[in-house]
Structure formats: structure tokens, C-alpha cells
């Protein structure tokens, strides 16, 4: 194991897969100069501009082009700079990448990875901060992953590149410089398998992306109050590892779901519904959902902070579920 930043882990994952398979190539805006987030730093020098390609600012065309290239046997990795920008290129993804295998009777697959930066908290304002993973999780044919640690970032990326179906790989801007342990040796993290990030017995907190870390710090804080929280990170949003979540709730009897996307009609609702369907009799308290209030994301740090879920919100919800509310 070695210490690595999240951004390094992504870069390493890209480089290793580019190295092992010539069919893998990257498309996106300003990749050669490593883009605003520097995720692709050094790749163009190493792999050349045949494989690391700058595109015009033309998401619809270059994402569509990647779909065609994938059908024809390549394994494109496309960067859509932030998740907000999917609005200009939904058609290639939702109507083409997601459906072409199915509607043509399984004649071919669409092995495509779309890298995108998600998340708020960095002063990026209404058009560069959204968490829209639920949109994609709602489309049969697509897969969605959201790594929360350097380990998962690298392992999920490598697995995604080797997967034969279109995958949205949503990394969080607020995690770029986060450190974590990453194996020296080759590994992948399987798509569709959740990870119990912390074991506990009183309450299950299902958290995604950056919220995994808020949940972990909430769990640490609750220890003093004698509450043992289990933190489950689905890692893959779709297909969701419901078995791990349901097993955890059967053990703890309580569930808090937290994500940075707006709460309404979100992934949290899906998790809550699955647990209600499959583990209702095990629940000792009503399920709690935490997410962004139903508003766009404002620019001012002050306003942004007023909206984003925190460890404190999570702890309050978990303690309430456990019948030991925080005294006012």
C-alpha cells in the first residue's frame, strides 16, 4: 500500500489502462493540457495526441462520436467536464449508448466510460456544481459509479474501462486532494459492489461520494454518545448493491440515507424504498433521508454552506433514529 491523492489515483488508473490496451483512448476538452481539474496531467506526453485528444467544445458530437467508436471496437473514455454539461449531450448517452445494444437485439455492446466532475462546495455556482447521478441511474442500459476514496477511484475506474457497457464515472471535486491508501499492485474494484466503510450495530448510514466522509465523521462523533453507526458506501449507484444495504439494515434496524443531490426524487428515495420493501419488519425507526433542499446551488459560500448536508445533519438524523436526539 502507498499513500495517494484521489486525483493521482484517477490519473494512475487512466495511465495503466491506456498502457495495457491500445483500444483505450480519451476525448475531451483541453485534455492535453490537463484541463481545469488536471486529471489527465502527463497523459498526452506519455501516450501522444492520437490517444489523448482535445476536442472542440462540442459535447454532443464528441460523446456521440465516442458511442460510435465504442460500437466499432474501441474503448473510449470521454470527459464531460462537469456533470452540469450533460444537458447538452443527453441524446448520445440516453438514446444511443444506453439503448443500442438492446434495441438491436444484442448485436454489439457500447464499452464507454464518461468521466465527469460532480459536486458542490467549491464556489462553482449553479452551472458547475450539480449532482445529477439520479438522472442516469434512471436509465436502463447505463451504469453509474461514484468513488469516495483514492482506492475506489482507481479500482472503479479500471473496472469501468474494462466493462462492456456505458458507465458514468462521477468523481467529486471536493475529493481531489484527499489522501488514502492505494495498493502498489494491480487491482480493480468490481462494479455493482458496495463497501462497508465502517462497521456498526445501531444504525446504517448509506452515503455517496463526498458524503461518505461526512457520514464517517458523524459516526466517529456519535461514538461518544454510545451509538455505533455503520457506514455503507454503495460506490456503484446503478446497478445498486441492494443486498449489502439490506443486510446492514437487518443488522442495525435503522437507516439514514444521505447524498449531496437534492433529496426529492433522489437515490435516497430508491434506497429507502428498497429497504422498505425488503427489510420493513427489521426497521425499529422511520427511515431518514438527507439531501440538498429543492433549490439550485448558489454561488456565495455562505449560501452554499447553508444548503449542503454536513456531518452534523447526519449525526442529528442518526441519533433521532436511535432515540437519543441531540439536546437543543
Amino acid at each position: 500500500m502507498k499513500d495517494s491523492r484521489y486525483i493521482r489515483a484517477i490519473g494512475e488508473g487512466l495511465a495503466e489502462e491506456l498502457d495495457r490496451d491500445d483500444r483505450v483512448f480519451m476525448l475531451g476538452e483541453d485534455l492535453v493540457d490537463a484541463g481545469p481539474f488536471s486529471v489527465t496531467r502527463g497523459l498526452a506526453e506519455r501516450f501522444g495526441t492520437r490517444r489523448i485528444r482535445n476536442t472542440p467544445i462540442s459535447e454532443s458530437a464528441f460523446l456521440g462520436l465516442a458511442v460510435g467508436a465504442a460500437i466499432a471496437g474501441l474503448r473510449p473514455i470521454v470527459e464531460v467536464m462537469t456533470m452540469d454539461l450533460f444537458t447538452v449531450c443527453m441524446d448520445p448517452l440516453v438514446n444511443h449508448a444506453a439503448k443500442m445494444r438492446y434495441m438491436f437485439g444484442g448485436q454489439y455492446s457500447v464499452p464507454l466510460v464518461v468521466l465527469t466532475a460532480t459536486g458542490a462546495g467549491v464556489g462553482a455556482g449553479p452551472h458547475h456544481s450539480q449532482s445529477l447521478e439520479a438522472w442516469f441511474a434512471h436509465v436502463p442500459g447505463l451504469k453509474v459509479v461514484m468513488p469516495s476514496t483514492p482506492y475506489d477511484a482507481k479500482g472503479l475506474l479500471k473496472a469501468a474501462i474494462r466493462d462492456d457497457d456505458p458507465i458514468i464515472y462521477a468523481w467529486h471535486k471536493g475529493l481531489l486532494s484527499r489522501m488514502g491508501q492505494v495498493p502498489e499492485e494491480e487491482y480493480t474494484v468490481p462494479i455493482g459492489v458496495a463497501d462497508v466503510k465502517r462497521e456498526g450495530s445501531d444504525v446504517t448510514i448509506v452515503a455517496t461520494g463526498l458524503m461518505v466522509h461526512q457520514a464517517l465523521s458523524a459516526a466517529d462523533g456519535m461514538e461518544e454518545a454510545g451509538i455505533s453507526a455503520e457506514v455503507v458506501d454503495p460506490r456503484t449507484i446503478s446497478p445498486l448493491d441492494t443486498a449489502t444495504i439490506v443486510a446492514s439494515v437487518k443488522k442495525t434496524g435503522r437507516l439514514v440515507v444521505v447524498h449531496e443531490a437534492v433529496k426529492d426524487f433522489g437515490i435516497g428515495a430508491e434506497v429507502a424504498a428498497v429497504v422498505a420493501e425488503e427489510a420493513f419488519d427489521y426497521l425499529d425507526a422511520p427511515i431518514k433521508r438527507i439531501g440538498l433542499p429543492f433549490t439550485p446551488i448558489p454561488f456565495s459560500r455562505n449560501l452554499e454552506n447553508a444548503l449542503l448536508p454536513t456531518a452534523d445533519h447526519i449525526a442529528r438524523a442518526a441519533r433521532e433514529a436511535c432515540g437519543v436526539p441531540v439536546e437543543q
Binding site: 458530437a61 467508436a69 444511443h96 454489439y108
Partner: protein, 322 residues
Amino acid sequence: MGFSNERFVGMYRSLLLLRKLEEKAVEMTMTGQLWGWLHSYLGQEAVAVGVCAHLRNDDFVASTHRGRGHFLAKGLDPKRMLAEVLSRQDGVCGGKGGEIHIADWERGIIGSTGIVGGILSTATGVAFACQYQGTDQVVTCFFGDGASNQGSFHESLNLASVWQLPVLFVCENNGYGEFTRQQDSMRVTDIAIRAQAYDIPGVVVDGDNVLTVSAATEEAVARARSGAGPTLLECKTHRWLGHYTGDPQGYRSKEEMEECRRTDPIPRFQNHLMEKGLLTEEAAQQIEEDVDREVAAAVEFALDSPMPLPETALTDVYSKAP
């Protein structure tokens, strides 16, 4: 054009096959044997045949909701195509695609989709893969005049131009996007002029003349194959029927509907071949009977094919079942 006599006669046969199979499909829609809409290709046959005459088996085409002509001209088995249109188990997509969504990867048919303009970027991507892998295959992407107002048309032409991709964009200008005339949706008369904005050749041809389509395609395909990049080829043609079968066409005059058949590509080409001594009355008769038999066999095959099993509705969403 360096085609042999047999090639020309083959094109004639192909025109007839497209025509007769389409007439049959229209008839089957009218009599309720065919479920859903049918976007008839009648009248536009010279475009598909003239273009595909220059494609190799390992070249690609991408198509539209009005795509049966393209599929047949690129070699899709009429039986499996008609079975798909009739949503049967032996359809080329197992009944999941139907009339509008058809692909046959083995024959280089990338697919057609229900999103007007949607396939242009996909086709451009297949061309990218050809270039990336250093093959000399080319991609032809068919689309309508209406589709040329979509962003994906402009973005795809730009990208194909920037990277000099081996793709031929074929605009079948039949004068209508659904019920709306071309002149009500754009100011330009020639869509090919839009190629100038992307610094690629834009060529206009009589799309009801298989020879002019063929000549222009020959040049564009050679260009793409040699690495010189994309071409926009506009084929002016006519949609004989409504947007779909059953369209009452209140937006079109009776005269216009009759007039548009005067450039019928089949007698035009037949006369040409006979004048050149490449086709005799007897040979034409023979070909017609042969095509009739092929159409009848396709109909029989398609009608005999069972409906797909309900379980198959759940397969092929992902490459590996979860």
C-alpha cells in the same frame, strides 16, 4: 464510372427490389398486417442504390427512420428485414427494434434510430474508429433535410472536418420534414452549401438519377478512403407518400403529389440501360420476376416467423446479465 455491365444491371435489380418490397410493406400496413407506422422510402430509391454501389462489404452505413432502402442496398437480407418490421422473432434485431431501429453489424449497418439527427455523431464515431485503427474503411451516414437543422448535424460535420474523418454525409432532401416544407424551416435552397461552414466539399445532385448519385458518391468515397476527409452530398429527391403511411397530407396539393412521381428513378435508369444496350426487354422481364419471387419469399418468411418470446423483453439491456 468503371462499372461492369453486370454491376449496372445489379443496380437496376436493386432499385426494383427496394421498390417492390416497399410497396408490399405499405400494402401490409394498410391492411393491418404491419403494426405501427411505416415511413415509406418510395421514390427515393436511387439515393440508396447509387450510394451503396460504391461501398464495400466492410464499409459502414448509418440510417434513418426512412431506412429500408439503405439496409437493402447495403445487403441486409430482405427476409430478416421484413421480419423485423413485422416485429418477429427472426427479425434482424429480434423484434426489439422494429421499423425505425434496425442494425446489422455483420453487413456494416451501424443502425438507424428514432431521434432525427441522432445517428450523425455515432456514424462519425465509427469513422473515427476506422481512422484510429488505420483501416481504409469508410462510413456513409444518411439523413434527411429536416435533420440538417439539428445541432448534431453541424457539430458532427465540424468534428469530422477537424479530424478529416472518412465519412460521407448523404442528405436525402425530399423537401419535407414531416409535414413542413423545406423552405419553411431554412432559408437556404441547397443544404450542401452548409458544408462551406466546415470547409468540406458540398455537392448537390439529382437524387432521382441513380447515375448522378453514383458518380458523386464515387468521388466522395475515394476522397474519404484516401484520407482526405468528409463530404456532404445532397441528393434532391421526392417522397412519394406521406411522412408515414396513413398521413392524409393535407399540406400538399394533389398536383404536387402527382408531379413528384415524374422523376421516377426506375424507368429513367431502365431507359438508359436499354439505350446503351445493357438491358433487353426479356432480361428486364426476367429480373422483375426474380425480384417478385424474392419479395414473396420475404413476406412468407416474415409472416411465418413467430412473435418474440416475452422473456426476451428483458435480455440485452447489459452485456452481462446482472
